[in-house]
């Protein structure tokens, strides 16, 4: 069952064409990685999905055409975007950040349960629950960003550079927790990541973007075996 489907997606910032026909397919409960160099269009692909960039081509979610929708409409369909730079709400407490994540939900009880779930998944947040988000460390902010996405009970999560700027051990903690989340919740994921090693611990398959186009697509195992991938992204 395909949950998200991108076909020939294009996008540009002013005169600069950033996406030049990107395709992507994410099955229900699947996890797909997007790899590539800086400026290859990874982040823009996620933005095209969540409606923050005007895009051409075809983007369907659950069989519905979502291209051209506003970000909040896309979110309402069950797509949670964890943006690059985390997008936590600095002047709100950790708990309020999580409550904002649950904005569209009406089930009060379920919300409280899910807050507990987030705190269980990220124990660091437990002790900072009344701190302002701006006072958190980078790793904690990343956890909070993922937690906020969880709160919206999404069917698909878009993760953008979750390891950026984090110490390797912290990055690993974050990815471990996300993997646990994936197993326990079955949320499908699109994972953008510079660090391919980390990405491959989470995703089943991946596509490599180069100047706004799919250069290579394959399962994690296939891609891991390729020399070019290894040289460019796996540090070997």
């Amino acid at each position: 069952m395909t949950l998200l489907e991108l076909e020939g997606v294009t996008a540009s910032y002013g005169p600069v064409q950033v996406l030049d026909g990107v395709s992507l397919s994410v099955p229900e409960e699947g996890a797909v990685g997007i790899l590539g160099a800086n400026g290859a269009g990874k982040t823009t692909t996620l933005r095209a999905i969540s409606g923050t960039v005007r895009a051409g081509g075809r983007i369907t979610f659950d069989g519905k055409d979502i291209r051209g929708m506003r970000p909040d409409q896309v979110a309402a369909l069950g797509i949670a975007h964890v943006p690059e730079g985390r997008g936590t709400l600095g002047d709100l407490t950790v708990r309020d950040n999580l409550r904002v994540g649950a904005y569209l939900r009406k089930d009060r009880k379920g919300v409280d349960q899910d807050i507990d779930y987030c705190l269980d998944l990220f124990p660091n947040l437990q002790e900072r629950i009344t701190s302002n988000a701006s006072a958190l460390s980078g790793g904690e902010q990343q956890m909070l960003a993922v937690g906020r996405a969880i709160m919206s009970k999404p069917r698909l999560m878009l993760l953008d550079e979750a390891s950026l700027g984090l110490a390797p051990s912290t990055a690993k903690n974050v990815y471990d927790a996300i993997r646990r989340l994936r197993i326990e919740s079955g949320i499908a994921m699109v994972v953008v990541e510079q660090n391919a090693n980390l990405a491959f611990t989470l995703v089943d398959s991946a596509t490599v973007l180069e100047t706004g186009r799919n250069a290579l697509t394959g399962t994690s195992a296939e891609l891991r075996g390729m020399d070019e991938i290894r040289r460019a992204y796996l540090g070997g």
Partner: protein
Amino acid sequence: MASSPKTSASTTSAPASSATTSSASSFRQRPWVRWGAPLLLVVGLAVLPLVMTEGANDTLARIGVFAVAVLGLNVVMGYTGQVSLGQIFFLGLGAYVTAYGVQSGWNIVLVFVLTCLIPAVAGLLVALAAARLGGLAIAMVTIALPIVGVPLAKRLSDFTGGSQGLSARFVEAPEGSGLYDDQWQLYLVLVIGGIVFLMTSLLVRGKYGRAFAIVKGNENVASSMGISPYRYKVLAFTIASLIGGVSGFLYMVVVQYTSPETMSFGHSIELLVAMVIGGAGSIVGSLLGGAFYVIVPDVTNAIDPSLTALLQGALLLAVLFVLPGGLVSLPRALTRRLRRSPAGRGSAAPPTTPSSTPGSGTAAEQSETERQGHA
């Protein structure tokens, strides 16, 4: 296959824009343009007062006065990012120093030096205290300057003439020059204002300007680079005050009268408006801002004197609605429009807030850390 992702990234980021800037800058670098254009400007400005009507000379001189005041505001606000709502206070202070000095019969050169020094020292003292505060707090402390300055000027009536103010007619054209007073005044404004503009543009393009930009962009980054935000904020504020003092001198050259009304809070707000309308963080923008400050009341008066406020408000909103970057962005907006229309492509909304950091090399290298800081 990209073997070195880092370099490919930087080339894909902005090929089109870098192409246009390089062609423009090479045009600017041709020797005859480099030297000819400023020369032409100087000659033009030298001839202008002789051929224009008295009214036009007067208008131009007033534009010069307020362009200098806006320039000072730009140093602290446009370039260094510290909101100042007190710039008019330094203009008023400079005007009072000039008026008092002239009335006391001091040498005019001494008066000018004091007109620079006293506001600069006052600005320094205020800044030493105010620069410890950030953001809106600094705005509130600077608001206090005109608010408290007006009653203070009334109280110090021995120096200021109280609410009746001080007159000083000291810039009659020298005997034998064959110039009318308005021409002589305009020359003074052009020369003094020109020097201030030249020095300021050198300042903001140089080492200090880059430091200002980094402080504006992110103070934490600045600290990590060994640039003390506090010290540069104080410096910027002091320079702004000094320039404000000079504009006060020019004010006395042109208006020849000052009173507490000169530094009322409303005018400080109008200077802020002029700075943004002209274009924040821009030398040319300061000039355009000064022109806006002076011309708009005249134009609205000419249209209908009983509707000035309504028309001024509408005009301000209309300009910013079309040109959010200020008048100085007009050429850019025009070329963008021209470039876009043949392409016929729908514009992509820029995903992030337009960065306020000028693209200087050092700031760009830091952008990644900065982004995390803002997250």
